[in-house]
């Protein structure tokens, strides 16, 4: 009989389909795992609602659970329980090392344009905060594009949500 701990270990080996250096467990999208009578129930929270990686992650989790000899039951939770604050410290460091600036912490109010336009975001390559907003949107919904004036490198900034 598979245990919850074994499921967590197996899920931690699944890479984020769009940012492979980080796993879906690092990303914090697995909210809960429970095992009952050979069925593994996973509560899964999408990052962005329109993220095309959602189905890929769900199917990969189901496949891994089947490989453990259990029946998967992956429930997609459509509420506000996922936040970029759920990305683990290890996940944040893996993001940074791969050239993605980790998200700023979530604040009480919504992020403001003036904050994004300020020079308080750190370049993941050289560490300078002399960076400017190039585009609120980026290659996927979860990222913005910034430019580092110090090392003259564009980089992707994880949005805070």
């Amino acid at each position: 009989m598979v245990t919850e701990a074994q499921v967590w270990v197996a899920l931690a080996e699944i890479p984020d389909p769009e940012i492979p250096p980080i796993s879906i467990v690092d990303l914090g999208v697995v909210r809960d795992v429970s095992v009952e009578n050979g069925t593994v129930h996973v509560e899964f929270t999408p990052t962005f609602l329109g993220c095309p990686a959602l189905e890929v992650m769900r199917d990969q989790m189901a496949d891994r659970i089947r490989e453990l000899g259990a029946e998967p039951d992956v429930e997609v939770i459509l509420d506000d329980s996922w936040s970029t604050d759920r990305i683990t410290p290890e996940g944040r460091e893996k993001l940074r090392a791969a050239g993605f600036a980790p998200p700023a912490p979530r604040e009480a109010g919504a992020p403001q344009l003036v904050q994004l336009q300020s020079r308080s975001f750190k370049c993941p390559y050289c560490g300078s905060t002399d960076t400017r907003l190039d585009n609120i949107f980026g290659p996927t919904p979860c990222r913005s594009v910034r430019y580092c004036e110090s090392c003259r490198q564009p980089f992707e900034q994880f949005k805070t949500i």
Binding site: C51, D79, Q112
Partner: protein
């Protein structure tokens, strides 16, 4: 909030998402190509999530709600149906007015007694914050541009007009449902 009211919101998001995707590849510059494509993706994601809630209540599926209804059955406003490409001033005017109106109803949904609806609205609101910043940035940039000011005046009365559909909605519906209609009964 009843199913028909939620359906109106989902239809608005789906149709505006479709309209915004019409800028993909042809926006005035690369950043806006990326922005409008991303905004479209988010809006269609919001539509899907709301359709899922409504579908569970009505005993149908999100895909059936999105693609299998007749044009007359959609509850979106005429405002989101307007085809504004390639007019940038009207595109931004619609986006600014839409985000203002949408923010009010999303905040109201966050107060819903239905926990599932309130939870989803809170998530949508966090994503919409970035659409609002985008709209604000353009509003600040274009506020003294006569074509933009004119477009705001022209469009403001249309924001919540739901008495029938515009002639151009028929063509959008044809395009949007074409693939699904081509293989009836297929599983996607």
């Amino acid at each position: 909030m009843n199913a028909q009211e939620l359906l109106a919101i989902a239809d608005d998001e789906l149709i505006l998402g479709w309209r915004n995707s019409e800028w993909t590849g042809i926006a005035p510059f690369l950043e806006e190509d990326v922005a409008f494509s991303s905004i479209a993706q988010n809006e269609i994601g919001h539509a899907r999530a709301i359709y899922q809630i409504v579908a569970a209540e009505l005993g149908t599926t999100a895909d059936e709600l999105a693609f299998d209804r007749k044009p007359a059955e959609y509850r979106c406003s005429q405002f989101v149906e307007l085809r504004v490409v390639p007019d940038w001033a009207r595109t931004i005017a619609r986006q600014v007015l839409y985000e203002q109106a949408d923010e009010k109803r999303i905040k109201a949904l966050m107060e819903s007694e239905d926990e599932q609806v309130a939870g989803l609205a809170a998530k949508i609101d966090r994503e919409e914050a970035y659409h609002r910043m985008h709209a604000q940035m353009w509003d600040e940039r274009l506020q003294d541009e006569p074509r933009y000011v004119e477009a705001l005046e022209e469009m403001r009365p249309l924001v919540d007009r739901r008495d029938g559909h515009l002639p151009e909605f028929e063509q959008l519906w044809e395009e949007m449902t074409e693939v699904r209609r081509s293989v009836p009964g297929a599983t996607w």
